[in-house]
Symmetry: C2
Subunit: 138 residues, 2 copies
DNA sequence: ATGTTTACTTGTAAATTGCAAGTGAAATAA
DNA sequence: TTATTTCACTTGCAATTTACAAGTAAACAT
């Protein structure tokens, strides 16, 4: 069981103890917005995360109750990672990260998602949370 | 000028290139919620960040146009750090981090702020953004 | 003139990351 | 049945980053 040290009792600091690095939230992003769910799919992302880092972060996310790991329906040699309720609650954070990055950093990707978010933040949050929950049941 | 490498064109990834670590957002937190503005004040925070890390992160935040650095009104040997508009736009992110941490991680701190956020997220965001803007003018 | 405050910088050990290669179980192909 | 490929990791090691302790330099206070 991967355990993390809590630096203080501040909720922001505590959240960053878990989510505050360059990779963890990209995995959650792939689960929420890209519909990905397997180790191999996460590896294929544009940012090319190292295999050991991915394995480590998946273990942390599972230990923290943010994702679950289950044998895939089709193959026994494959695992399916899904968001728990705790994980689904990260969606609003991803939305804010997206809006901030889109507004303030030079970037060109995913104009469709961006338009959707800018048109209605709360509606988009609910939509992707619902999608993630549905996938978790399947 | 501190420069960062952009890993992809995804806005989430790009935001994490700047904000994705354990310390940067704690500085922004101190600027927004604790009314702090000097190197010495940031050092005094509960989480005890190392002096070289603090100096590095302040330089990055300034280079990225998230904070400004100015000689303090009272002493020439002191500097005052304030949020720019780009920095003020991080407030919604901090609010989401707070709510997530408070809901899902064992923590006890700052019940007053927490109640305020849970009572009305948007109102609280606007309030702290206004406060930060006012301080930047003073 | 002397000591203190403020904002850093420097040196070094420890921890983390990034890269390349390797492992082993399960699925598929011959 | 055997061989090959797929999939999900693990391992080893160099490079980068972090943490800790100490030191520096300009401004300010006495």
């Amino acid at each position: 069981m991967k355990e993390l040290k809590q630096r203080s009792t501040c909720p922001i600091s505590t959240s960053l103890d878990v989510l505050g690095d360059k990779w963890t939230l990209l995995i959650v992003r792939d689960l929420v917005f890209a519909g990905k769910s397997t180790y191999g799919q996460f590896l294929q992302s544009e940012e090319k995360m190292a295999t050991n880092i991915l394995a480590d972060r998946l273990a942390v996310l599972e230990a923290q109750g943010i994702i679950t790991k289950a044998v895939a329906a089709d193959k026994k040699s494959k695992f399916t990672y899904r968001l728990t309720d705790k994980g689904v609650d990260i969606v609003p954070l991803l939305v804010e990260l997206t809006l901030w990055g889109a507004k303030h950093c030079p970037t060109i990707a995913n104009p469709r998602l961006l338009e959707e978010l800018q048109a209605g933040k709360d509606a988009a949050v609910e939509k992707y949370q619902r999608l993630a929950r549905e996938q978790a049941l399947a």
